[in-house]
C-alpha cells in the first residue's frame, strides 16, 4: 500500500470515530466524514478546495515521514502494523 493510501485509510477511520466533530476551512465547514471523503475525491473539487486538500495531503505525508509517533499511530490505526 502506498504511504498516502495508508494515511487516508487511517484518517477515514478517525472520521468514523468522530461523527459529531466538524472541520472549518475559511467560510466552509465539513463533518469529519465529508472531509475524509474529499481526500480520495479531490480532483473534481473547486480550485480553492482542491488546493487545500492537496496541501493537506502533502502536510500529512510530511508528518508521516518526519514524525515517528504520527507514523506509528497511523500505521496501527490503518491496520498496517
Amino acid at each position: 500500500m502506498r504511504e498516502l493510501d495508508i494515511i487516508v485509510k487511517a484518517l477515514k477511520l478517525e472520521a468514523q470515530q468522530k461523527p459529531n466533530e466538524r472541520i472549518y476551512v475559511g467560510f466552509k465547514s465539513y463533518t469529519y466524514a465529508e472531509f475524509a471523503e474529499m481526500l480520495n475525491n479531490h480532483k473534481n473539487l473547486a480550485k480553492a478546495e482542491k488546493e487545500f486538500i492537496e496541501n493537506f495531503l502533502k502536510t500529512s505525508l510530511k508528518l508521516f515521514k518526519e514524525n515517528k509517533a504520527y507514523r506509528e499511530k497511523i500505521l496501527t490505526l490503518a491496520g498496517e502494523k
Binding site: 487511517a10 484518517l11 478517525e14 472520521a15 468522530k18 466533530e21 466538524r22 472541520i23 472549518y24 476551512v25 475559511g26 467560510f27 465547514s29 469529519y32 472531509f35 475524509a36 480553492a48 487545500f52 496541501n55 493537506f56 502536510t59 500529512s60 510530511k62 508528518l63 514524525n67 509517533a69 504520527y70 499511530k73 497511523i74 490505526l77
Partner: protein
Amino acid sequence: MTLAILVAPKFDEPTSYSYEWSREIRKMLEEKGFQVIDISGRAVSREEVEQVLKQNPNVIYIHYNHGNTDCHYGSETVKVVDLKNAVLLSGREVYCMNCLSARELGVEAYKNGALAYYGYIEVFSFSTDALDEFKEFANAGLKYKLEGHTWEECLKLVKELAEQLCQKLVEAGKYMASILLKQDADALRCYTPNNPPTDTKCILRKVALKIFGPKLGWRISRTTGFGILLTLIGWGIVAHDFAHQVYQLKGTPLSLEGGYIGLALNLIGFILLTSEFINWLKR
C-alpha cells in the same frame, strides 16, 4: 493609557468560535493595561473600522475571523480593510487571525510602512475536537508580544509552540487536527522591517527580490520593473538590427560606427540612472 483596536466580527458558525478566542485577546490586553476599542460580536461596517483607525493612528490593530488575500471581512460581504485603504495600517502593528490576508494585504501593509503584520498566507482551518489547542495557537503571537518579545521572536516561538501542540494532538489520536494545525503554522508569517515578505507569484517581483533582496525588491513598483524590462528588450532589438545592417554593408558587424557609440552611451546612461534610482530607494 495605551490603546488597542480589536475587530472580531461574528456572523456565522466559524466566527462564533474565533470570536470566543478573541475574548481571551481582549482580556490579555486589559491585564497588560491596554484600553481596548472593541468592535466585535456582530457584523461590522467598513466605515466604523476606517473611522476608528483614522482617529487612532499608530495604535495596534487586531483582526479576528474571516479574511482573504486582499482584505479583512466585517461581514460575509463587507471588506473593512483592503488594498484601497491599506494606508490606514501604516505606522502600526497588525495582528490577524484570519485567512490568507498576509498574502497581499500583509505585503501592501509592509510596503506602506506597517511596523509588523502578523497573519497567514493560506486559509486558516481548525477542528472542533481540538478547539483549546487551536485557540492557544491563534492567540500565542500576541501573548508572546505582550510578554516583551520582538515580533521576529514571537513568530519563532509560535512555530515552536505549534510543533508541541501537533505532537500533543498526535499523542491524543487527533490526527486530522494535528495536520490542520501544522498547515496553519506553515502558513503563518510576520512581516517587519527586519523580516520582509519573500513569497510572491509575480515573475518580475521574484527577479527583483532575487537581484535586490527583499527590502529593496518590494520597493520597486511593477510599472518601474516593466519599464526597465521594455527598455532592455528595446535596446537589444536596436543593437541587433544595427549590427545586422552593418554586416550587410561591410561584411562584418564589428566596425566603429556612430550607431554603436550611441548605443553604448545609451546603455551607460541607463545603468547610471538605474543605479541612482536604486540608491534613492535605499535612502
